[in-house]
Symmetry: D2
Subunit: 478 residues, 4 copies
């Protein structure tokens, strides 16, 4: 077979594999009806911005953070402000706020922003550069949705401008936080103040000197008979007396500075009554509303990380210096198969997230719980597999600072834990599926009876018997 | 927490888990824009027909086939004609022929039929009952697309009516058939006849006494310099002298009677010249066109099989007689987690198939090769996992004839082999993905250079260096 | 590198890969101290007998069974008697009976027989040929260990001679049999007889016309407060009035004739009082004693099946006719990697079984429960993986009757179910491991305290705190 | 069932699960014949030392290293000297040097030390405390085996005393180091000196200020026709002019200070001719001899890490504060199953390593290549699985510095890369296994012929044909 013929034949498969296809051209056919012309245009701008400005800035950012612990959590890498300026010029700002619920955002749907978030996930700096970084995104949603005008003026406005940052304080060190009813931080009303006592950890973003507001969940009514009415959410300025950042937590060996993950002590921390969000006992309601879109954002950024890992993997296979046993790595079938599996797994997981985003857009997050849970379960495990394969192809470079892979793996690993560990989501999904049990048993029994009637009409008596049917039909004799 | 409160909270997750939701209500949100009102209506009719008539008929069908080998491959279970009659009454006939290419079908798109095929896949008899059974479906497409009027009158018409059945003879026992250029059956022109010599196996459907036509691929020009121009497809009546069904092949221990899988010998089998399809040397073109939609059909039926297995699994967990260690199986968290994983995996795989179907509908199968390959790779492995979990929950009943599970597993296992084994599709996908190598290396080098410029602007020199970038930048110094 | 040099370098790896090494030379170094000279000699004879006589006989055996259901369960393939005669000549008879407990056997330890059983597992006929086939092996152990002299004379003697066969009737269709306390077959004493009523299934071996004795477990005392004292084991001649073989069960479409798996009804089946084994209420004791070595036998035969599958896999890769995409399969790295993984997994699983066998030999089965459970869990999943890879390499031939692979897969799949499904063994192992919980928590707390003392001695106070330690030390403050 | 009865029944499973069993009592039965009385005694001392002194010291060690990069790679945690002093008192020193090859060690076999290494692997400090830390262990073996008396006096003696540390410089950044023939560091003889130019990375241990000697592999004869004769090993004092530690590499964010992993530049580094080890061109021979036991040490330490992770997992499940959804984690079956799987996988992998160690002891490392490769492939993947499960059970604490789990994961991940990535070992094992191809094909053909003879003797002709046999028998007709 001549090489020309070979090309003709395989050309057909090339379509979306061509590196030069733009982001807007790679949207899965099934999702296209949901994407506006405007979003198509901005999606390509996002891709260009990420590839041409953010990814190159990542290395500069890493180095500007510095070496000593003190330095890393007190400075602010200058490059990030360059990027923010550029992003605003390009119109890439606050794209995460869905147009059907918020007037403050850039006017995209959850699906459209989801498509963009994939590209943001390829770079360490891109989300912050476009003011789309967690946990600010969820916090801005909370403030926009539930905040009083005064609360909005004071905190939402500077957040929307990217002038300050924020943290969401929910997780606690000494309880099983996967079950949010377990939280214990005490919020007691004393006169015209709330007094907070307790501790929080995994307070992400609390390390950044620009983080000025802690949106804090605690219990105002721990004896309320409903376990979902005991919690409240209070706005606590970061510099309120009584707050100590006890220490910063690592993720594997990374400190994620300057952002960071704080372990924070509250000792008689006092805030005015008007710092309560929505009202006492409505904390659960607030976190419920906050979680859906945030999980989609996380998931789409993870898809982006997986795509980035796959790109690095493919590049490695074609690196002319890395011949092993006389062959370039791309001649090793084992490697090619891993590339292919990664492609299949990424594409399939992406569809799951896009479907969840569309369900949120179409029917609201509370009717998309199954779809969100599925994406939440599926994506991190997929991303870890893809990233791990790339690490293996890089060998020593893969676990070191010379590629972003090890860091992406560490981030990805936390995704199986944050916003509820896999097990909790699986348990809920499974129990829900299990509710079909009675219906299914009844239907099987009905089908069995019909089957016997059909057999009788053909002059036969059935010999083998579906286990379940027998159980049911015997039961019905009782 | 009162039980009432518990319900309120988890109710939200119930939406699509309620057994009473109809098929049309369960379509993933992302696929809805592609489904017509008519298709929604017929989809619900399909579901009803399958659940209320076909599944009950399955047990009757199995028993009517009989016991001895001879009996099993010579009769025709009467129940199937009952079902066909009923299906035609309901308007469920030839739904597989896509409306944008064929006027002969029921007027649905590939996506719409795909949604229906899922339900057909839950029953052993449903596909044949609606005249949507492989390999007739693909064979009818070939005849409709490439046949002469005479060929259509003779073979397509009775196939469309469900009066006869057909087989597609491609695979051969003594070559690596995953590479179709390897086939060897000889087709030599002698006067006004073609003479065929060789052997074929896995000729599915050849066991049925109603199978009257073999669409046969062989080589008319084995010395053609293009390995894709050597093959031709010829129509061979099943009763042509020189044809022997040497034996029937089993799948695990199943003979799949009366359909079956033949091992067939051709010894000087003669057919007139007008039995050639499309023209000599155009065999590859024909099979290329045949494969895309067929893979989608297989995949969607496998999704249906997986859903059926999951239903049986859930039913088992709720079987009041099956208490192990003092608990119903549905109280065992391990089982609940498997249910949940199955739900996630099925739903995600379905989206992959639906996206492929939509890509075929929108852009044609030849632009959907990647999407088809992904679904082809993803679905069988998923289905096997789900079915295997259900088997394990049933124990002895799961491997026996008392559930359809073991049979579904055996069928599912062949799906990793037919139409090209997983490895071939992975190899093609992987090689295709690998073509991005040069582009990605260039982009990484460009990003590296930009990174250095950015650092310089900030008065820094970069310390750590992306492995690949270094290689490339050092190379550029040469 | 010259080809000569290449060989020198890789020669070192060849040692146990050389096809000509004998069985006795392939015993893992770690197991050698436990194997006598006599066993080494007989192990090689077993291998030779299996490879040169039994494997060639397998195809003849399959064909001699016949085609119709009736024929398959009424005849006795003549070839099996040829093999039995030859086996006795070679001294290969009843090797399974361990020398330290039984005088009736060939004088080997459980380990030594285990090594032999691996080779028996490579052929369908070898176990019966050497009178080492389940369930006769376990049944003979029961009779030898617990039988009266009269029981031994009547049943053990002809079993040891291979003149009759036997079945063990424990599993029941309508309860969760994985929990043996659930069985319900009623045994009521009436005068000088026991009267049995109920049903059993998966009565393996009951299909063989030579099967003359059913060792049957039922309940004589269902109200006994101890759930382990309610059961008794009774010897029931197969031709006792009131017994009906309702039907034979399939395993993935295989009927396993003539052996088979019976679904049997007992209706007022009467046996004399002296047919009780060991005494009323001692059924649990009997099955406990029966299970350990039997699981080792199953596991070692599965190891042999996996080795056979791997041999077929390797052979396929070197089949000169099976070139795919211009290369022999053995040039495809993906295939080579699967070969290697299979080798690693088989060898590791074998060590687990051998260790369990040695633990039984050294300390008795009741002190080897953990080791037996580990082998029971590990081996079937391993074997299925290896066999499945081989099936995939064979494609269509792999799922059909043209290789033993699909049948081996079906057999292997039941191994995850029989003698307790994986889940039950995992649950027991896990609960047992979990008993270390308190000890481990206490030790962690102790280590934490010691850690603080050490830090104090160095003038430091510890900053980070092991989660668990903190919990414990805080608890200790209470 | 009364709780008493329950205990009686499950007691049997408790044997090795009881936390109080000593190390010597937990040795798998199969390995016992290989362990001397002395080793049993010292094994228990090792366990006690690790649990009571090293593990408590780990937290102190971590904190003594300090915070800033400079500090971390220039100091020497004082606690380590406390431990070393104590270890020597206990006679726990240099246990790694096998008695059959070296007189300098503590007189144990590879197996015996392997059993001890498992316990050392549970603590971060234990290996160094007993002078059994890599890479010193392999380096001491090299010097003891191949060094001149002068080399031994200068370097081996202080290493054996624990006064200095060492590094082995093989891996290079710009080649595929998994293939050692690719290394490029140039060693040119000039007069009475060797001059070294090039770079090395992953020079583990080079960060420690006490590291005084680099055992360095390079090429003295890059044009030698044998790719295995081009390399030499030279002793290079760490303070030789021309050496720069360019930077230290991270492993998932960990710097592994003070040990560390150096990226080192060599620019005209000069050493006297007598610093050559064994002779020019003998570098391959040296690394071959070095790798076997080292892989066993790594593997057994990884087993220990996995056991430690499992202990932490079990402890977590019993932590009274961590109730999720109303249950202690140990009541969640999903968790119990993971505990059980971990137990099975650890125990099986350990047997594989022990068998490899025994094979080295009995037959020498060069006859144990297969066994070593199997352990090398099996253990890291197993350990990562076990550790990852524990991480998931701990949630946030699992990825942070509050447990050793994340660090153990990072270390474990490198084990799939160092000393050759998994893929290289699988490729070698697979190719080796594949050499049986011709033998197996021939045997299958022979068996097929025998099968036909047997059939003929029974008056039959075989119908179904083993695929491979047919190929072979047809070939034989040619």
């Amino acid at each position: 077979m001549s090489s020309q013929q070979k090309n003709e034949f395989s050309e057909k498969l090339m379509i979306s594999a061509d590196g030069q296809l733009k982001a807007s051209q790679k949207i899965p056919q099934i999702a296209r009806p949901f994407v506006s012309e405007k979003a198509l245009k901005y999606l390509d701008i996002v891709e260009k911005f990420v590839e041409e400005e953010c990814i190159p800035a990542d290395a500069v950012f890493s180095q500007q953070i510095g070496d000593s612990v003190k330095q890393r959590f007190s400075g602010h890498p200058a490059i990030i402000e360059d990027l923010k300026k550029r992003a605003r010029e390009l119109g890439l700002w606050n794209m995460f706020l869905p147009r059907n619920h918020f007037k403050e955002g850039a006017g995209f749907s959850n699906l459209e922003y989801g498509l963009m978030a994939e590209y943001l996930g390829k770079s360490r700096t891109a989300s912050e550069a476009t003011n789309c970084a967690a946990p600010d995104t969820g916090n801005m949603e909370v403030l926009a949705k539930y905040g009083t005008q005064a609360q909005k003026d004071k905190w939402l406005k500077p957040l929307l401008e990217g002038h300050i940052r924020s943290a969401f304080l929910m997780t606690e060190p000494d309880v099983a936080s996967s079950d949010a009813t377990n939280i214990t931080l005490d919020i007691t009303r004393e006169g015209n103040e709330y007094v907070l006592n307790g501790s929080k950890w995994w307070s992400s973003g609390a390390g950044d000197p620009r983080c000025q507001i802690y949106i804090t969940m605690g219990k105002t009514d721990k004896n309320n008979p409903s376990p979902y009415k005991q919690q409240s959410v209070v706005l606590v300025p970061a510099d309120t007396p009584g707050i100590t950042i006890h220490r910063m937590l690592g993720v594997f060996g990374y400190d994620d500075a300057p952002h960071g993950h704080g372990h924070i002590f509250f000792k008689n921390v006092r805030v005015p009554l008007d710092h309560m969000v929505l009202g006492e006992g409505r904390g659960f309601e607030i976190i419920q509303g906050r979680l859906g879109p945030g999980r989609i954002h996380h998931a789409m950024r993870s898809i982006g990380a997986a795509e980035k890992a796959l790109e690095l993997f493919v590049a490695r296979l074609n690196d002319p210096r890395k011949k092993a046993f006389g062959k370039l790595l791309n001649e090793h079938g084992v490697m090619i198969e891993r590339i292919a599996k990664s492609r299949v797994e990424i594409d399939s997981a992406r569809l799951s997230v896009l479907n969840a985003a569309i369900t949120i857009d179409t029917k609201d997050a509370k009717f998309a719980l199954k779809e969100i849970a599925e994406a939440k379960i599926l994506v991190p495990t997929m991303a870890l597999k893809v990233i791990d394969r790339a690490i293996q192809a890089y060998g020593g470079a893969g676990v070191s600072q010379d590629t972003p892979l090890a860091n992406m793996y560490a981030q990805g690993r936390t995704m199986r834990i944050v916003d509820g560990p896999d097990e909790v989501h699986l348990l809920q999904l499974g129990r829900n599926e299990n509710k079909r049990g009675k219906f299914l048993l009844d239907r099987l029994a009905w089908q069995r009876k019909k089957s016997e009637e059909m057999a009788a009409k053909h002059g036969m008596q059935l010999r083998d018997v579906l286990q379940l049917d027998r159980v049911m039909s015997e039961k019905s004799k009782l």
